[in-house]
Symmetry: C2
Subunit: 215 residues, 2 copies
């Protein structure tokens, strides 16, 4: 028989997984908005970040209630505190998707991404999507092996990030400074999104194993 405490923990897990769904959708739509200069889509990402923030606040409130009423110790304590860290990372991932949507909005009706960089941005988005999908599965299943896969995806993101800079710095670059600034910032946002996904997956490892051997 389950007790109330573990029912509450399950609800927390469901909320975290729901946050991964929201920030995955946000990043995917932000990328489309960026590539296609879709103002309507960028506005929807920006306005819907509120929902991610609301879920974060709900997780925080649940955690305070859990701590105050159940006074967890040992592994239960680790679970609850780590959930708060995960929620904070996921909330930040929503902000990063929103930042990309804001670049799209700022450059509308132009696209901020010149033709020769579209493929790289599409690939960065695909890796971001793969990362956050795995992060959601890690949270739901506590799969330590899957957590480790995210490190390789993150390396792939870093390679793409460096490819962006190579294109910006090539002698053929003829889109000027403004586009270079947009792409520098957008690249940074994808890279940070990946970093946060990896942090959440590392937190799953920490939850299960009780040890951190990261960073």
């Amino acid at each position: 028989m389950r007790d109330a405490y573990h029912d509450e923990l399950d609800k927390l897990t469901i909320k975290l997984v729901e946050m991964t769904r929201l920030v995955r959708s946000a990043m995917s739509r932000a990328t489309t908005a960026l590539l296609d200069a879709d103002l309507h889509l960028s506005e929807s990402v920006i306005s819907q970040d509120e929902e991610v923030n609301r879920l974060y606040a709900e997780v925080e409130t649940s955690i305070y209630e859990l701590m105050a009423t159940q006074q967890p110790v040992a592994v239960d304590l680790r679970t609850v505190i780590t959930a708060l860290r995960m929620a904070a990372d996921l909330e930040r991932m929503g902000d990063l998707a929103e930042h990309i949507a804001k670049i799209a909005r700022m450059r509308h009706p132009e696209s901020a991404i010149p033709a020769e960089l579209r493929d790289t941005i599409v690939e960065m988005d695909q890796i971001a999507e793969r990362l956050i999908t795995k992060t959601g599965t890690c949270i739901a299943t506590r799969d330590v092996e899957l957590s480790k896969e995210l490190e390789a995806d993150d390396d792939a993101m870093d390679l793409l990030h460096r490819r962006l800079f190579r294109v910006l710095l090539s002698p053929n670059w003829n889109h000027g400074i403004e586009a270079a600034i947009d792409i520098t910032l957008a690249g940074r946002y994808y890279e940070r999104y990946a970093d946060h996904a990896v942090r959440v997956a590392r937190d799953v490892v920490y939850l299960v194993t009780g040890s951190r051997d990261e960073e």
Copy 2:
């Protein structure tokens, strides 16, 4: 008479204030390294970030011990959980100073900052220093009024950040794309450093008042 719990909380506060000192020094030295292309100084910032990370780990360990042994409730629980959030923000501020030091190292023996932007970077560093000094005082004294001052300093940082972009986008900019990328990223790091300082100060308000009316 003080009890063991409050002695532990005081130690936690001392560690957080120590973290503010370390990340203040890191940012100030990183800025000098950036402006003067000082390789030795940039290396010292990069290697000393380890100390900030170590303090973060110590705070995290103390908090788990405190929670497990004292099982705090209500305001004490809020204090402990908020300390963990603050430590995470301060740890991130150390990373941001390190990122600036890495730009300095990458461009050595050149300076990444052209003459016409030196003053702006100096001002951004001064605001960063003012913010983190106030953050340290807020943590130590729980001064809610001082916390509010940080919002104005953060606005000043945002203005300087926009000034950077204006210079990069002016028709007179003749330092090319690479310098524009460096400055875009450095500007972002100063701005994020300020954001984290403000978050910590807001957490002090939350600690004292029990309510958040932020973001």
